[in-house]
């Protein structure tokens, strides 16, 4: 059993086999093998408690079918089911996605990272910069001059046109 501790001091106990899906954790465990029990505690300082919950849920779902995913030999039905599940899993607010991307990056979980990036790109698709700014709460920091000059000449046509 491995213990993960989030930045707000919550503890999460996870089977080693499950947590192994994080390449970072796997390396840490590998390094500390044979040592005392206390060494099996891993601090994930940059992540609040909401995210480990999600990550562990993701791990468990994938842990149930690791071989099949690795070999892409999953039956069609199972693959569909997993796809549906992932769609639901990633159907969350954009801030959680941000955290998931950061967590997946620091814990090195390629499939989670990929899935979260995919979801964010889906959100960005076909939206104007203003809309994206609103969703992601990014302030429009371009000065009036920049907006007047540089950007329009480069690609104003991208959003000037209405949908057909």
């Amino acid at each position: 059993m491995i213990t993960l501790i989030s930045s707000d001091k919550r503890k999460f106990h996870v089977l080693e086999e499950v947590a192994n899906q994080s390449l970072t954790i796997r390396d840490v465990i590998e390094d500390r093998r044979g040592r005392r029990r206390a060494d099996r505690i891993i601090l994930v300082t940059n992540i609040n408690s909401k995210i480990p919950e999600k990550v562990i849920v993701y791990w468990l779902r994938h842990f149930l079918m690791p071989e099949e995913i690795a070999h892409a030999s999953m039956s069609h039905k199972k693959a569909e089911k997993l796809k549906k599940w992932e769609a639901k899993f990633f159907d969350t607010d954009i801030d959680t996605l941000n955290d998931l991307i950061l967590a997946a990056d620091s814990l090195d979980i390629p499939s989670l990272f990929d899935g979260a990036c995919e979801k964010v790109s889906d959100i960005l698709k076909n939206r104007s910069a203003e809309e994206v700014g609103e969703i992601s709460k990014i302030e429009n920091e371009f000065t009036h001059e920049e907006e007047e000059e540089e950007i329009p000449s480069e690609n104003a046509w991208v959003w000037r046109n209405e949908f057909a």
Binding site: I94, D95, N98, D99, I101, L102, D105, F113, C117, E118, V120, S121, L124, K125, N126, R127, S128, A129, V132, G133, S136, K137, I138, E139, N140, E141, F142, I151, S153, E154, N155, W157, V158, W159, R160, N161, E162, F163, A164
Partner: protein, 288 residues
């Protein structure tokens, strides 16, 4: 949660998932750090091709229909006024002036790039399809005749193939200087045509005998390379391949014995002059 402060590496991972070039361009306009990441990442070519919509001669915009987004984009480009827009590849279009407007230029409406080609011959305006995705192709005729030569481009340098197959001129794409002239082997070239692929330059010399419908064809090849000296060799056997000649380009395709096209040249001539409706010839010549 700080979307603007996401490390560039992660921003690029998200960018990599955006497959539409328009999404990329919009991404750049959100904020400065997104703009920096966007600029260091190449704009992708859209996975589903855009359709270039027909336009009249006086138009000053290029119109595209994006299938995947189901919308029409209009890109302003004053240079297309009184011009034909011919052939495209990798985002580049060849624009050929109409009548009094003797200019040839290459534009990329998506990046705003434009460059004039050092050519003031009149060009024929047959649209030519590009098979390889890496070259620009256009008909090039001197005055009359739509089976003139061909101009084509690939990254780095342009090829200008002369009418009557008298020479191939290679022009540096950046400096627009002529860097090489390739001449055909010495023979009567009256009915000859240059045809190109990214790897070779082909010269086909064919006659049609009027009374019976037989053809006499000879085909020559030379490597399409700046380094090697042109070494034309006559082609008599392509074995398990079929050679498809369409417009100004050709492709070699593997053809099994069963398909009946083995060792065959299939030629497609897009348009017949003075015909009221568009028409074409397709004919095959077996080397065996």
């Amino acid at each position: 949660m700080d979307w603007a402060g996401l490390p560039p590496k992660l921003l690029e991972a998200i960018l990599g998932k955006l497959i539409e070039s328009t999404d990329h361009l919009r991404f750049r306009c959100v904020c400065r750090s997104w703009r920096r990441s966007g600029k260091s990442h190449p704009v992708p070519t859209s996975s589903i091709p855009w359709l270039h919509l027909p336009q009249d001669l006086t138009s000053t915009v290029l119109k595209f229909y994006s299938l995947s987004e189901n919308r029409i984009y209009e890109i302003p480009f004053p240079e297309v006024y009184y011009s034909h827009v011919i052939g495209s590849a990798s985002g580049f279009f060849l624009v050929v002036g109409y009548r009094w407007n003797a200019k040839v230029l290459i534009i990329n409406p998506f990046t705003g790039t434009r460059a004039h080609l050092p050519y003031n011959h009149r060009l024929s305006t047959d649209p030519v399809w590009d098979y390889s995705g890496s070259v620009i192709v256009a008909g090039l005729g001197k005055g009359f005749g739509d089976f003139g030569g061909v101009a084509y481009c690939r990254p780095g340098y342009f090829h200008l193939l002369e009418y009557e197959a008298s020479e191939v001129c290679i022009v540096d794409g950046e400096t627009l200087q002529k860097i090489r002239i390739i001449r055909p082997p010495n023979f009567d070239s009256q009915f000859s045509l240059f045809v190109v692929s990214p790897d070779d330059i082909m010269l086909s010399n064919d006659y049609r005998f009027n009374n019976d419908y037989t053809w006499w064809i000879s085909v020559f090849f030379t490597p399409n390379s700046l380094l090697e000296k042109p070494s034309w060799s006559k082609f008599t056997d392509i074995g398990n391949y079929a050679l498809f000649c369409g417009g100004k380009l050709y492709i070699l395709s593997e053809a099994s014995r069963e398909s009946g096209l083995r060792n065959t040249l299939v030629k497609y001539k897009p348009r017949v002059r003075n015909m009221p409706t568009p028409s074409c010839y397709i004919y095959a010549h077996s080397f065996e």
